[in-house]
Amino acid sequence: YKWNGSAEGIIKAAYYVAAGKISSSVTSIRKRMKNGKAFEDAWELTGVQLVAAAEAHCRAVICDVYRKETVRLTANSSPNVKTVMDQLNMLYLSHWALERTGDLLRYTSTTEDDLISCQQRYEELLAAIRPNAVGLVDAFDFPDEILQSTLGAYDGRVYERLMEEALKSPLNAEPVNRSFHQYLKPLMQGKL
């Protein structure tokens, strides 16, 4: 498989990685069985590879579904929505390609130059998404009551909310805690 850096190309590469890992697992199981292991033992000994193969398969499916659904759902969207959804999608695909460079180099014909351009594209996408980042999370449309967060409230009164919540701590209900009289004061006065 020859890497081309497009969304469809990354997805295809992800499937090739999955196929490569499944193929390697099958080969390992068969080799172990040929050396006298029972199937169950050969399976167990190949467990690490099998988990990695299933992970790779699932990642490829998610990448594929995410791409197809994005294209389908934004078919009638306004141009800017289409652009930002596409940027997010490409960011996801590039992110996972960069997270799995070893697999790409092992199971596809991806080269170092391909990965350098993928990294560059990823960083360009971060910059492109930046102006719309708050808009993108606003689109999740969580009312403050559901978000229940001092840091994430819509109005951004982060520090005020942190302080308001701190003041609700039961420890702040009295100026001096009784442990002062029981332990701290005796300790400080050498009377403990």
Partner: protein, 472 residues
């Protein structure tokens, strides 16, 4: 906050359009907002003291108080507005809205989340007409107990027995040893008076494997555990502290014959075992359903974490990029963008994958009703690996969001630690990460062998056909 206002002013797309896409259409957004506005207008004054400052007993009592309040709102106002279909098509909206009441989890979560769906999926029409009205009206509260102290995902290893006694036409439910005690089910400890119990069915001296039974565990009036039932709460845990996770054991406890859920198989009065459904894997339906729902659940929680961390990163200023100049918003640092933007993208990826998986699940169920179970193994493999990867990714990325918020992300009031402890539990329950991936691997290896021998394979593994040719 001025910075957030500026961010919103510079956004170059229509925010509502993306909201509609994520909701599944403009009508669904309207419906969601309508439900949210009803529930939220009633929920604002729910907690005077922050939940996390209470002791374990008080937290549970407060969670029950809020669960009852929320249930009443849903029953009296939401259901009368939208009808019962809200429980189907809008169940995710109710789940979302519930977070306005519960920072952690409602002890009622499994009542509508698993007790009711199991009766719907595995009860006969007669059983459904008897149990569902009582359950939906909250005359009884139920949960679903499958996992045992000594047994998790490998459900064939469950030890609880249900032995049929034809003389009294009853099943004798028994926990033969400590490892067979039911363990972890939400709402089981002190809340539920009924429970779906998954047990090994014995009749006429033969074991027929695991089957679901509706078991009354507490008196409907006094709420005291019934004789022969040992039930309680499992103690403090990393998260889920208001979920009322419980344990349950039986000492030769008797239930009527018709409390076995008999849609897929039956035990007749004389003890004869009759298999109704044509496919032995039909009983996996509830498990697959829950896994499908969990993908949606973690997408929702990751979206919350991303919202919190991105907004905070627009407000927070730190360090100097250029000496003497004002501190930049931390979202302007590329390392921060690297931490956060993939969280937004992943929330989208998982939300859309979850919608797609739901459609696949519905199609396979429809096929199965028509007697075609061909696609069930693929659905099982898909739901297993998507549940595994989505919960794992979400937990890791929620933690990434917390780290992106520095010390303030460590505050419980940020809600990030609670989101993490909640989602990290989902990586384990209803099938641990590694176990589920190994189940998927079993399907993949079989598919590979099929492709090698030139037989057709199912759509999600069709890429193997090309790869096998390449290998040759």
């Amino acid at each position: 906050n001025e910075d957030l206002a500026k961010e919103r002013a510079r956004c170059d797309f229509n925010v509502s359009e993306i909201t509609n896409i994520l909701d599944g259409g403009i009508e669904r957004t309207k419906q969601r907002k309508k439900i949210e506005s009803i529930a939220l207008s009633n929920g604002k004054c729910c907690d005077v003291t922050p939940e996390e400052t209470l002791g374990p007993k008080e937290r549970y009592e407060n969670a029950i108080r809020k669960s009852c309040l929320y249930t009443k709102i849903v029953k009296d106002q939401v259901l009368t507005l939208t009808g019962l279909e809200v429980l189907g098509s809008n169940s995710s909206v109710l789940r979302r809205t519930a977070d306005a009441f519960f920072k952690d989890i409602s002890p009622f979560l499994l009542h509508l989340g698993m007790f009711v769906p199991t009766i719907m999926g595995q009860g006969t029409p007669e059983q459904q007409s008897y149990w569902l009205p009582r359950a939906l009206d909250f005359q009884i509260i139920g949960t679903y107990a499958q996992t045992e102290l000594g047994h998790g995902t490998f459900i064939r290893g469950l030890e609880t027995t249900a032995t049929y006694d034809p003389d009294t036409e009853e099943f004798v439910i028994h926990s033969p040893r400590l490892t067979s005690y039911k363990w972890w089910a939400g709402g089981l400890g002190k809340t539920s008076n009924y429970c779906i119990v998954v047990a090994q069915l014995y009749t006429q001296g033969k074991c027929y494997g695991i089957h679901p039974f509706i078991v009354q565990i507490r008196d409907e009036d006094t709420h005291m555990p019934l004789p022969g039932v040992r039930v309680g709460e499992i103690g403090p845990r990393m998260g889920f502290n208001t979920a009322d996770n419980g344990f349950l054991g039986f000492d030769h406890y008797r239930i009527p014959r018709n409390h076995m859920l008999m849609k897929n198989s039956q035990v007749l009065k004389d003890g004869t075992y009759v298999k109704v459904a044509s496919h032995s894997k039909l009983t996996y339906g509830t498990m697959v359903f829950v896994r499908v729902m969990l993908v949606n659940e973690v997408a929702f929680n990751l979206a919350k974490a991303a919202t919190i961390a991105v907004r905070y990163s627009a407000v927070r200023r730190q360090s100097e990029k250029i000496s003497g100049e004002p501190e930049p918003q931390i979202i302007d640092y590329v390392t921060q963008q690297h931490k956060l933007f993939v969280c937004i993208a992943t929330a989208h990826a998982l939300q859309l994958s979850s919608n797609w998986l739901w459609k696949t699940f519905s199609a396979v169920l429809a096929d199965m009703r028509g007697g075609n179970t061909e696609n069930l193994p693929e659905l099982h493999a898909l739901s297993s690996c998507l549940k595994a990867l989505s919960t794992s990714d979400s937990a890791a990325l929620i933690e990434q969001c917390r780290l992106a918020c520095g010390g303030h992300g460590y505050m419980l009031s940020s809600n990030l630690p609670l989101l993490y402890s909640f989602v990290t539990a989902t990586r384990t329950y209803e099938g641990d990460y590694t176990v589920l991936l190994l189940q998927t691997a079993r399907f993949l290896i079989k598919a590979w062998e099929q492709a090698e021998s030139g037989n057709p394979v199912t759509p999600t593994v069709s890429y193997m056909e090309e790869a096998v040719v390449g290998n040759k």
